[in-house]
């Protein structure tokens, strides 16, 4: 069910089904976001929660169209939300909200795709006449998930991700403690740990 996407209604379609409200909502949405963003800059947490709550599915919908793996859309959407949070002061309420948001979405999506393709390239190798590589990296079928496999998969990830993962999942630190230790945002630590887990699952499949 998670893969099913409902396409947006075509402009003519709502006219038959009392869709004027849909159309006006679509047109008013960015104005509403603009107001909420302006209120959030003044510290209005309710407006901010409403803004992020509406942005999350919108961002995911935009991203999912350009990805072969729909599961990654959630990760990128979360990263975009964090980026929106970090760069809130660069939004000027006198300018439209959507181009500002789209610039961030495109930036984070490109970032993700760049990492994705570079990692795939790293994984490409041949075992022909490379017995040492085969012995240390190829896992016997039905035998995956051993500690050495987990360690080997973890070693393929960036050092910072490894560290966060080890501290939270193995050593038992809380996200807050890791965030303090690594001078990072707590939410960024959680997102990183979550992503590492997903990557490990992918690597061990």
């Amino acid at each position: 069910m998670s893969g099913v996407r409902i396409p947006p209604l075509r402009p003519f379609f709502p006219l038959f089904l009392g869709g004027e409200k849909y159309l006006s909502d679509q047109q008013n949405q960015p104005d509403q976001w603009q107001e909420w963003a302006a209120a959030a800059q003044k510290g209005d947490k309710r407006a901010y929660a409403a803004l992020l709550g509406e942005l999350a599915p919108y961002i995911k919908n935009v991203i999912i169209k350009s990805l072969s793996n729909p599961d990654a859309a959630e990760d990128i959407a979360q990263e975009v939300l964090i980026s929106v949070h970090k760069s809130l002061d660069t939004y000027r309420p006198d300018r439209p909200f959507k181009p500002w948001l789209m610039a961030i979405i495109n930036f984070r999506r490109t970032d993700y795709l760049r990492k994705h393709y570079s990692q795939r390239q790293d994984k490409t190798t041949t075992t022909d006449e490379n017995f040492e590589f085969e012995a240390s990296n190829v896992t016997i079928p039905n035998n995956a998930g051993e500690l050495k496999d987990i360690e080997a998969a973890l070693a393929q990830l960036p050092e910072q991700q490894q560290r966060i993962f080890r501290m939270i999942k193995i050593e038992g630190y809380t996200a807050q403690e890791v965030a303090n230790e690594m001078n990072m945002n707590e939410s960024a630590v959680k997102v990183s740990a979550h992503r590492t887990m997903k990557k490990l699952q992918g690597l061990l499949e």
Binding site: S2, A40, K45, A49, A56, E74, I82, E186, S187
Partner: protein
């Protein structure tokens, strides 16, 4: 189940982000770059004063080609620093076209150098000037480039390479203007090799680190 789980995680994240919200005022795109511009021009004036202005400066002010070069350099400096400032906003203040202005000016600058080099020929240079101008140029540009890179780092650029290119163009034109005021050699071959090339190479080197430097 899996969808619910993910939804919970996004909701948690939204909750945390809302908890961390602090009031903030929208960043002004012009303030920092205006401060940088004024401070850099004052700094350049100080360095030019320290190194000594070229002896024939008064005469050169009557030379139209010399004035044209200075004006071209100034236009490049202003447009590139403004573009750099706009590029430190995620949506470039919705003025993406702005990059065209410094790029076009730089193109005409290069054409100008090539045309003059062909007309004059690549004249042999005095040995003294080979390192001398490059050192003075570095003195003129080192602090402005560090300051401009820090300003861009504090922004939220989604075009790191463009932002770095604009920074390099702005500071290189500042150095070019400064060297035209201190160095009395007007041959284009000398200007190209000593006044521009070292900084173009340094700039290209810095460009490789743009994405890491401006990561956010």
């Amino acid at each position: 189940m899996s969808t619910d789980n993910k939804k919970m995680k996004t909701d948690d994240l939204i909750g945390q982000l809302c908890g961390e919200l602090t009031p903030t005022s929208p960043r002004c795109p012009y303030r920092r770059v205006a401060v940088w511009f004024v401070a850099s021009v004052v700094y350049l004036g100080f360095v030019v004063w320290y190194l000594g202005i070229r002896p024939d400066f008064q005469e050169r002010l009557h030379d139209t080609l010399f004035l044209y070069e200075l004006m071209l350099g100034s236009a490049l400096l202003m447009s590139a620093s403004l573009a750099s400032s706009w590029l430190s906003f995620p949506d470039c203040m919705q003025r993406n076209w702005m990059k065209i202005v410094p790029v076009t000016l730089f193109g005409s600058f290069v054409l100008w150098i090539v045309a003059r080099s062909i007309a004059e020929g690549m004249t042999p240079m005095a040995t003294l000037h080979i390192g001398h101008c490059a050192h003075e140029g570095i003195l003129m540009e080192i602090i402005p480039i560090i300051a401009l890179v820090i300003i861009t780092m504090r922004g939220r650029t989604t075009h790191p390479y463009w932002a770095m290119a604009m920074n390099i163009l702005a500071v290189s034109s500042l150095g070019w203007i400064g060297l035209r005021l201190t160095c009395s050699m007007d041959e284009m071959g000398h200007s190209f090799i000593n006044h521009l090339l070292p900084f173009a190479i340094i700039g290209a080197g810095l460009g490789f680190f743009a994405r890491k430097l401006f990561k956010w």
